[in-house]
Amino acid sequence: MARLDTIPLSERKMMIELDCSGFEGRTPFVTPKPLSERRISLISTAALNLRDDAVYQRGATDYRVIPGDVDPGEVVMTHSSVNFDRTGFQADLNVCFPIERLHELADGGVIGSVADFHFTVSGAAHPSDLAGSARAMARTMKADGVDTVLLVPI
């Protein structure tokens, strides 16, 4: 489990001291609408990419696009960290990128629809260095009619 006392001391120290500059009292909050009307896109920090994509480089601040109808067999991972489990991802993409679960919810009418485009970044970079990528992803999402984003860590 990802409780701090199960994480090695060196990694734990880094996690506790990590700069987590946040919204600092200006947390944006969008007026709710019914879940059944929402069009949802995923953003993962797992450095997932399609098999033929360029691999993530060390310290990468760029992003990759995962199509909504992706074949899980086409998704690989090129994250630099060795300090998280990859066997779950190897067994089931949905354990870190729940694209099939989202489609099931859409098919059942629980959510409105699944976006045509989903995104990944490498979580090894500082979030502020990902601002350019975030803006580019947001532009594509808006063009795709996305109104809701599910952020998934690794």
Partner: protein
């Protein structure tokens, strides 16, 4: 656009204070919990999406879904005590030179091949491949590097250190996908303990770590620092006193 998120490290989410977050008690790498458990994953997903109904925020709640205890401890017995049912070639001596390790590595890959093929058939996919190398070519590059750090990378469109990283990560995926076809290897730590303590490849990775840590090359030094062997193999948590709450 509204956002909701899954949180694995609660303290990070407390600090960043995003609009909506669901903290989950799962291990790093498994934010939705249990691989292949559609019902459980759906419950986690719905808990995260359910936060979208909140009228105001920020909101951070704890997920009530949990996973069964995998029963794997961080003690020394658990690190070395598993007996793998796959009949792999005998491990080389602890002080075997890199050349011997390289040959043994190729034999080990052959020994795992039926299980890797079975895993791929069973899952309908593999995550091996980002290096762009055949698995034995990846192993040969690793073995050559262990023997001679000036060896050329088998592809020249990336930094040599990056090719090396992709090659050994492909090998890790080949090994861990193979062993997962065996019963009793569902827990990530059990797989990891086997890989780093019971295989020739694991021995090669420990040797690679030593070489990279001593290297003058900046990229190799970076790899040796924290990108080859997981911290929990180097410093098992339960062996460390003074846990931070």
């Amino acid at each position: 656009m509204a956002t909701t998120q899954i949180s694995l490290i609660r303290i990070h989410t407390e600090k960043t204070n995003p609009p909506r977050a669901l903290w989950v008690p799962f291990e790093l790498g498994r934010p939705l919990g249990v691989p292949g458990d559609v019902a459980s994953q759906t419950r986690v997903l719905m808990a995260a999406l359910g936060l979208l109904d909140r009228e105001s925020g920020p909101v951070l709640i704890d997920c009530t879904e949990d996973v069964p205890d995998d029963g794997v401890e961080y003690d020394e017995d658990a690190m070395t005590g598993m007996v793998c049912a796959i009949d792999l070639p005998k491990l080389p001596d602890a002080n075997a030179p890199a050349s011997v390790l390289g040959q043994a590595l190729l034999g080990e890959i052959d020994g795992l091949a039926p299980w890797y093929d079975l895993a791929v058939r069973s899952r309908g996919r593999t995550t091996v491949g980002p290096s762009g190398l055949e698995i034995k070519a990846a192993a040969k590059f690793l073995a050559d590097f262990l023997e001679d750090q000036s060896t050329r990378a088998p592809r020249d469109d990336l930094e040599k250190g990056r090719v090396l990283k992709l090659a050994y990560e492909d090998l890790k995926a080949y090994y861990t996908e193979s062993i997962a076809a065996q019963p009793g290897y569902g827990a990530s730590l059990r797989v990891e303990n086997w890989l780093f303590n019971e295989t020739t490849f694991g021995r090669a990775l420990w040797m690679l770590r030593d070489i990279c840590r001593a290297s003058d090359d900046e990229y190799e030094k970076y790899l040796g620092g924290n990108s080859i062997v997981p911290d929990r193999q180097i410093n098992p948590p339960n062996s460390i006193k003074g846990a931070v709450e």
